[in-house]
Subunit: 242 residues, 2 copies
């Protein structure tokens, strides 16, 4: 079973104060880039893997999705998602992505935001999602970028000449990374970009788009403090086809 960090009180409390928790999709810097690669939601049966508070589920439904299923390991998240949703076509359930079971061909679109880096067995997950999608369906997800995840000490270092640098080590050594973020001992699973893409391909997906997110010029004008995101990517966005 995946680590249920979101139900640790100090983590949940901290997470609830993030911009993306307070303001939903518009509070996430990478949302405009995700949105640009999403298919039309009209009449789609959608599954959101790691749905959190359900912001995306409700967005998909407002955009015309026929039905949306949001899954998350966290009881806290699912409880809050249910409270915030008043639509019988948007359902939530508790599920562990590490042991996920989905009905065959039940969905037209699968989505996931910043959840898969908590999953150890991505091969099993990719196989499960592929089987759950109808032919020609799409699969869009984001994870923390491997450059962000790999280092022993993932934090900025000031070089001798004053530049801000990101000290990469252990990039090719895949496996758990334990960091303190909102709570102590958060376990993430580092994989190279190559492994993530090859796992999708091996399970029958076609790669449509790969984006190592960085802020647009417009975003930088509004948020000069995001400039560091251009020095090392924080998010990886992937769009694949069944």
């Amino acid at each position: 079973m995946a680590q249920n960090i979101y139900d640790k009180p100090e983590f949940f409390s901290g997470y609830s104060q993030l911009e993306r928790s307070l303001h939903g999709l518009e509070g996430a810097a990478e949302w405009p880039a995700i949105r640009a690669i999403l298919p039309d939601m009209k009449d789609k049966r959608v599954v959101d893997l790691g749905c959190g508070f359900g912001w995306f589920c409700r967005w998909a439904r407002r955009r015309g999705a026929a039905h949306v299923l949001g899954l998350d390991l966290s009881e806290n998240m699912i409880a809050r998602a249910r409270t915030d949703t008043d639509d019988p076509a948007v359902e939530y359930a508790i599920a562990d992505l590490e042991a996920l079971e989905l009905p065959e061909g039940a969905f037209d679109f699968a989505y996931s935001s910043l959840a898969f880096h908590y999953v150890e067995d991505f091969d099993r997950l990719a196989r499960t999602v592929h089987r759950a999608l109808r032919p020609a369906a799409r699969f869009v997800f984001t994870i923390e970028h491997p450059i962000y995840m790999a280092p022993t000490h993932p934090g900025w270092v000031t070089a001798a000449d004053g530049r801000r640098t990101w000290p990469v080590d252990g990039y090719s050594i895949e496996g758990p990374r334990v960091t303190d973020w909102l709570a102590k001992g958060v376990v993430k699973h580092h994989r190279t970009i190559g492994t993530t893409l090859n796992t999708l391909i091996a399970n029958g997906f076609t790669i449509h788009h790969v984006e190592e997110w960085s802020p647009s010029a417009e975003q930088l004008a509004d948020h000069p403090e995001w400039a560091e995101e251009r020095d090392r990517p924080m998010f990886l966005l992937v769009s694949a086809g069944r």
Copy 2:
């Protein structure tokens, strides 16, 4: 026109002393990984973009390729390739990948090793290669990994605790990188992995395999000094289908 660094005497002299120049394919650490993703060469019409001394061209021919065309910008390289080749089915020509012209549907396989990072306009190159391949043909190439290329100062930094780290900055800022390697002022063109893959996809290729090369356990046993390659990837290997 791409910078013709290989015809600078000090560069050519230094390059000629590298393991991969003295010992050919077997002298390149990443060759076993490349070989694992190559298609069968039997009866293939092959083009090698940036063929250098022609080691791969001759290998492909020995493996049964019907015809091999090796292209390189460097007169020195092409002259040496011709000297080392005694086979009318292996031909060489001087060509600038920045302004490459190839006949339509003329090849069954396109190959390139560590040349495309010298090319500014990868979109034009991908379009040209796609057009030159017959349907269902394969395209395998390697480039310097963007993590290796991006930094202002691409060299190891020892962290406070003694770890070896690679100081990434400017990862999302694509464009020229000028370094001193064998000669002063070598110009390479940094692109993210996302851009490289999306450019291939936009030009009609299907991504088959993406590998951020690191040494195998067997290689590490023979070459303990290669351990640093696991801390940050030096090469990116891509296999795509027409």
